[in-house]
């Protein structure tokens, strides 16, 4: 058990090191969310005053998703191309522990994007940025981390099993921003799409973060969102457990998924 935690920690550290200097990630986690924030700040200038924190949270979520998506799609595939996947599979450690460590690195780095947006909004645009319900807000952030890790844990083997699926990552960025209600409420969407939103953990994360930062959240709201995030997290983990088995079976039995 402790050995597994060590794997997660080392993978986390090393991946963090690599991601922090990766220009692609810097764009996705810092620049793109900042530019989205700028656009949103101007576009929403005619709406209510709490849009400062609204934009910070929303653009932060976009950074989080972009990082999870793009990084997640390549967690396993990149190891494959580098020839290091065999080393991991043949080791006593499970592939999943490595993916957890990497996803944790992605999530940590992309929380940075929220901080940058915060800096932008307060220093450049001088917007009011108080979080109305700080304790539930921070707790929600805490609940969000394992949920997103679970989501990342699902994306990686999914993209590994079906390599052509990873070609679709470009098309999956904005849909999450839309369905997740990051920068506008999902009320604007047709009713039939709402169930889709409800099974996406980022939607519940955005929902509770927006609500607690603007001060309209009731305890029932908050608990519902947390419960949904945790429930979905468990479902994602269960699905990913199956998927990892598929990845390994294809690699070792069918030999259709080259480990190299």
């Amino acid at each position: 058990m402790i050995a597994n935690l060590r794997v997660i920690r080392t993978t986390f550290e090393l991946d963090l090191k690599q991601q922090a200097v990766d220009l692609f990630m810097i764009f996705g986690v810092v620049i793109q969310p900042l530019l989205i924030a700028i656009m949103a700040i101007y576009m929403l200038s005619e709406r209510d005053a709490s849009r400062g924190i609204y934009v910070v949270v929303g653009s932060g979520m976009t950074g989080l998703w972009t990082s999870l998506l793009f990084r997640g799609a390549f967690n396993i595939n990149a190891e494959r191309f580098m020839g290091t996947l065999e080393g991991i599979v043949a080791s006593p450690s499970a592939l999943a522990t490595v993916v957890i460590g990497k996803t944790l690195a992605s999530v940590t780095l992309s929380l940075l994007s929220m901080i940058f947006s915060y800096g932008l909004a307060s220093l450049v645009f001088r917007l009011p940025l108080s979080v109305a319900q700080p304790v539930p807000f921070l707790l929600s952030l805490l609940v969000m981390v394992p949920t997103f890790i679970a989501f990342g844990l699902l994306i990686s083997p999914l993209m590994a099993v079906n390599l052509s699926l990873s070609g679709w990552v470009n098309a999956l960025e904005y849909p999450m921003y839309i369905l997740g209600g990051f920068l506008f409420p999902i009320l604007l969407l047709p009713g039939w799409s709402n169930p889709l939103s409800y099974v996406l953990a980022p939607y519940w994360a955005a929902r509770v973060l927006h609500a607690t930062s603007s001060g309209v959240a009731t305890p029932a709201d908050v608990l519902l969102s947390w419960a949904m995030m945790l429930l979905l997290g468990i479902l994602y983990i269960a699905a990913s457990y199956r998927l990892f088995k598929v990845v390994l079976r294809r690699a070792r039995v069918d030999a259709t998924l080259s480990l190299m």
Binding site: G87, A90, M260
Partner: protein
Amino acid sequence: MNAIEVRDLRRVFRATIGTIRRRTKEVVAVDGISFDVRDGELFGLLGPNGAGKTTTVKMLTTLLIPTGGTATILGHDVVQGAGSIRPRIGFIFGGERGLYWRLSAKDNLRYFADLYHMDPDIAKRRLPELLELVGLTGREDEKVEGYSRGMRQRLHVARCLLHDPQVLFLDEPTMGLDPVGARELRQVIQNMVSQDKTVFLTTHYMFEADALCERVAVINHGQIVALDSPEGLKGHVEDLSVIEVEVFGIAPAMVDALRQMADVDTVSVEDRDQKQSLRIHSPLGSAIVPQIMQRLDGNGARVGRVTVREPTLEDAYVRLVGGEV
């Protein structure tokens, strides 16, 4: 006690070809091989490219599941007991890949130490020891992307020894190394055995198998065609002499004609820059040289040096794999 036991091991690959009309093609990479490797032995698997060496190693290192037959490492089955096998084995697949280029050598080793669930204190101690062993001390903080081929291979050696495994699988470890690097690596391999480790080595360099291995299995087309000590294998060609003829630009048809000759066992051709070296096995030895010369001269082939010698392990190997080196 046998470290490795293999019985009728088989691996079939199924590939689907084509996008519209799909056909399944079956390739039998390993076709029912059996052998044992004793504790502390340095065992060689020798064969040409595509013979099934790497596939065999992958099955023994739990990366591939056999399609048929069984294999046990240290008494554990490679399928059922993979969890028990993995901490006890180490492996190197020849080549550039398998390391994290953006990380330093030290970070690479730290990472693998954790992957292998090593106690951090033990890992801390062993890391500098191993770097010393492979001669990378002082360069461990540099990124692997700046390493030469030889240095990367040495780092691979350090990696595979890190967790002090009992059985080592080395798949063509000296491939691509310069002669000095290759010799150093062979020295390291011999040291491993002197530490009571079992080493399973695959190679297509005959002299390497001859120099290092206690026993050699020759594999071709997924089957073992011979298994013996290097001396024993040479016995396979005791009856033959080897006539080596240097030629300049010989046509394949001519080589085939030589093969058809009576009393010629096998003919193999080795390209060396401008010239080729024909290796002809024949029980007649020097007696057959005039006939060979007649054939070659008669067809306008330019001939250089001709030597007749005793067979080596290489010749045994050539004969065993039917000349298709």
